[in-house]
């Protein structure tokens, strides 16, 4: 394989097809940006929900002075309630471990919180989430119970709202990706057509499929890669300026924001999606329009 030859064929193709290639780059950039937005939103939701959010409906926090008999009595009371499906117990050290995990990106908060600040608790999963009141009233006044907490309605609505945003971004991303695929399909077909003289001769003198198709596939892959680079650039700028400076600057530390680590984990997904989508589309197109 003569790399230099394939690369020069590719660059000839790129120059000949510049406007179409630019269209592919931009469409890929837009669709991948939307995909990135959907992924960032889902990471953000994950970051804000604590471990128990989707697992239980009622939390029974115990006082610091709770005794062993009191603790057992509360558990027995919860277990015998017909509305209860399952009761989890969370000790202080478990609670602290989850707290550290959730706020690992805010080390100052973790450092200033002693392990004893977090209460032990029973986390209760209900058969019917609406029956919260019955469970709450059953244990609320038992000795050793500090506080009974249901799910926060506003918080739940907020998460649902973010969830919708994420789904919409994902749906638009899919439509835009479909547009990008069609555009790549057309671009490669045009490229194959405009170079049919060369490819015809290549076939005739016995060039392998790989040799004939590699420049076209690389062309598609490069366009996809440039598009995904633009999308990644947008993602990094969004994290740096809109999330960190904009929202964080305006509202401060009210919630935990999506971390650089989470953003970094999205970047390879975007790059890979862009490159693979473009090269696979190119290869499939060539199977149809560049038969040997």
């Amino acid at each position: 394989m003569r790399v230099r030859f394939v690369l020069s064929e590719m660059s000839i193709g790129l120059r000949r097809n510049l406007s179409m290639v630019l269209a592919v780059v931009l469409t890929a950039a837009i669709s991948l940006s939307l995909l990135a937005a959907a992924l960032v939103l889902s990471k953000q939701i994950q970051t804000m929900k604590d471990y128990w959010f989707d697992r239980i409906q009622v939390s029974v926090f115990l006082t610091k002075a709770v005794t062993d008999p009191e603790r057992n009595a509360i558990r027995d009371e919860l277990i015998q309630l017909p509305q209860v499906e399952h009761v989890y117990y969370e000790s202080q050290s478990q609670a602290f471990a989850r707290f550290k995990e959730q706020f690992k990106d805010v080390p100052s908060l973790v450092k200033n919180t002693p392990e004893t600040a977090l209460p032990e608790s029973y986390r209760v999963k209900l058969k019917d989430p609406k029956k919260y009141e019955i469970v709450a009233s059953a244990v609320q006044h038992m000795p050793g119970v500090d506080q009974v907490q249901g799910k926060s309605k506003p918080l739940e609505q907020f998460f649902r709202f973010l969830g919708y945003g994420q789904k919409i971004a994902l749906a638009v991303a899919l439509v835009a990706l479909a547009a990008a695929v069609l555009l790549i399909f057309n671009t490669v077909r045009l490229a194959a057509f405009s170079r049919r003289r060369e490819t015809g001769i290549m076939r005739l003198v016995g060039a392998s499929d790989l040799y004939i198709q590699a420049p076209f596939i690389l062309e598609g892959a490069l366009a996809g890669f440039l598009g995904s680079l633009l999308a990644v650039g947008g993602l990094v700028l969004t994290k740096a300026f809109i999330i960190d400076r904009g929202i964080h600057g305006m509202f401060g530390n009210v919630v935990n924001y999506v971390s650089w680590g989470a953003v970094a984990s999205i970047i390879p997904i975007i790059l890979l999606t862009g490159v693979l989508l473009a090269s696979i589309t190119s290869a499939v197109t060539l199977q149809r329009y560049l038969r040997v």
């Binding site: 394989m1 003569r2 030859f5 003289r197 060369e198 015809g200 001769i201 290549m202 076939r203 005739l204 003198v205 016995g206 060039a207 392998s208 499929d209 040799y211 004939i212 040997v292």
Partner: protein, 229 residues
């Protein structure tokens, strides 16, 4: 070198076979004219040799290989043993003479130093020494066909297929092309040439295979174009 055994080719959407029950054997080093009117099956014959088409019936051997048993990915290797020349030259207009010939070697992955050595040799052989840097549109038709022959022969194929190579050329230029093909044949390359040109066939006195409506109607060593002329 080339053997057709009971070969029939029926194109889809066509009532009459382009080639019917054709059996032909061409030995290594032969020079064969394929004659016949348009639509007699000459082009189909050549396309079958290149495995650009598959026969509907029958078997074809080229360079010792039975083509129906040749897997898809081995077709390039087959075509590297066959040089091809066409009536319309098929040169790349944006490449020089040298680049056009080198292209055929580049795309099969030949190393740069080999290309630098063999391209001038073959250009010298076809009589184009000194015109390496011309563009195809600066050349006469005969010279363009010489470039095409150089490209077909640069990889030293065992077989050279020429489909009406003199079809676009005037008679005196055609003679030069025929001399060149003859010289290539004398190096041991099997040459199969489809042609309409009765003067050339009559003057060369080589083996003639005549096709008519897809049938082999004549196979004559040292033949002429047609009896009735």
């Amino acid at each position: 070198m080339i053997r057709f055994q009971g070969v029939t080719k029926l194109y889809p959407n066509s009532a009459r076979p382009a080639l019917e029950d054709a059996s032909v054997e061409i030995e290594k080093g032969e020079f064969v004219f394929l004659v016949g009117q348009s639509g007699s099956g000459k082009s189909t014959f050549l396309r079958l040799v290149l495995k650009e088409e598959k026969p509907t019936k029958g078997q074809i051997w080229v360079a010792g290989k039975e083509l129906s048993r040749l897997s898809h990915w081995k077709i390039p290797a087959l075509r590297r043993q066959i040089g091809t020349v066409f009536q319309d030259f098929r040169l790349l207009p944006n490449k020089t003479v040298h680049e056009n010939v080198a292209f055929a070697l580049e795309v099969i992955g030949k190393p740069r130093h080999t290309i630098a050595k063999v391209v001038p040799e073959v250009l010298d052989l076809v009589g184009l020494a000194g015109k390496e840097d011309r563009m195809p549109d600066e050349l006469s038709g005969g010279e363009q066909q010489r470039v095409a022959i150089a490209r077909a022969f640069v990889n030293r194929p065992m077989i050279l297929i020429a489909d009406e190579p003199t079809g676009n050329l005037d008679p005196s230029t055609s003679v030069g092309i025929m001399r060149l093909l003859d010289r290539i044949n004398r190096t041991g390359t099997t040459v199969v040439m489809a042609t309409h040109d009765s003067h050339i066939v009559d003057s060369m006195r080589r083996r003639v295979i005549e096709l008519e409506h897809g049938h082999v109607t004549r196979d004559q060593s040292r033949g002429v174009y047609g009896y009735a002329r």
